[in-house]
Symmetry: none
Subunit: 122 residues, 2 copies
């Protein structure tokens, strides 16, 4: 079962990894594994709730072992593309409460903040 190899890679990294990253890591460590198998395994793991999936800015699906290390959002400069990672307990609470008000459960959310950073104000 390649499942454990994939999990091993994910647990060994605090970052989100794309399926292709996982495949490359396994290949690099000498494992012979097909790309399709990696995709099938991560899908299975995601359905079983063992890992979290999310899409990165390149449109790649990325995965992380589930113990939610750091939830954060992005503050992006429209002028230079500089990105700052920000924490927002207030937003988390707001998202949960507004969802609850409407009877929604299992809430997740995405937040992106755009602006012009100090170095690029006219």
């Amino acid at each position: 079962m390649k499942r454990d190899m994939v999990l091993g890679v994910l647990e060994g990294s605090p970052e989100f990894l794309s399926a292709q990253d996982i495949h490359a890591a396994l290949r690099a460590s000498g494992q012979k594994v097909g790309l399709a198998t990696v995709y099938r395994v991560v899908q299975a793991l995601q359905e079983s709730g063992a890992i979290d999936a999310l899409r990165n800015e390149n449109g790649e699906l990325t995965y992380r072992s589930c113990e939610s290390t750091g939830h954060h959002h992005h503050l992006v400069c429209r002028a230079c593309g500089r990105t700052v990672e920000v924490q927002g307990p207030a937003v988390e609470r707001w998202a949960d409460s507004v969802a609850a008000e409407h009877g929604f459960a299992e809430v997740s959310h995405t937040v992106e903040v755009f602006g012009i950073c100090g170095d690029h104000r006219s």
Copy 2:
């Protein structure tokens, strides 16, 4: 210039639209426009800051005209797709303040909340 046609479509919708949606809308309204042109136009518009881009859950890039009429966010049911429009003064304030802390100005933001609505909880 197809630029204005694309902008017209985006300004006519409060929702985020994918390039393909825009293309379909233009075709539906009788315009002869190539898909590639739509992609090129939205990229140009995004670079010039006229529209916001965001990747949706399916990995499609979606766009919205920057001067959105009424500011609101969406609460989307993962099970049935039902969407509720919600207001969130708390998030607005949070976004502004977190951006200000990092020296960002002209702040805009996008927030999407996903959950399972009352009718679709297991």
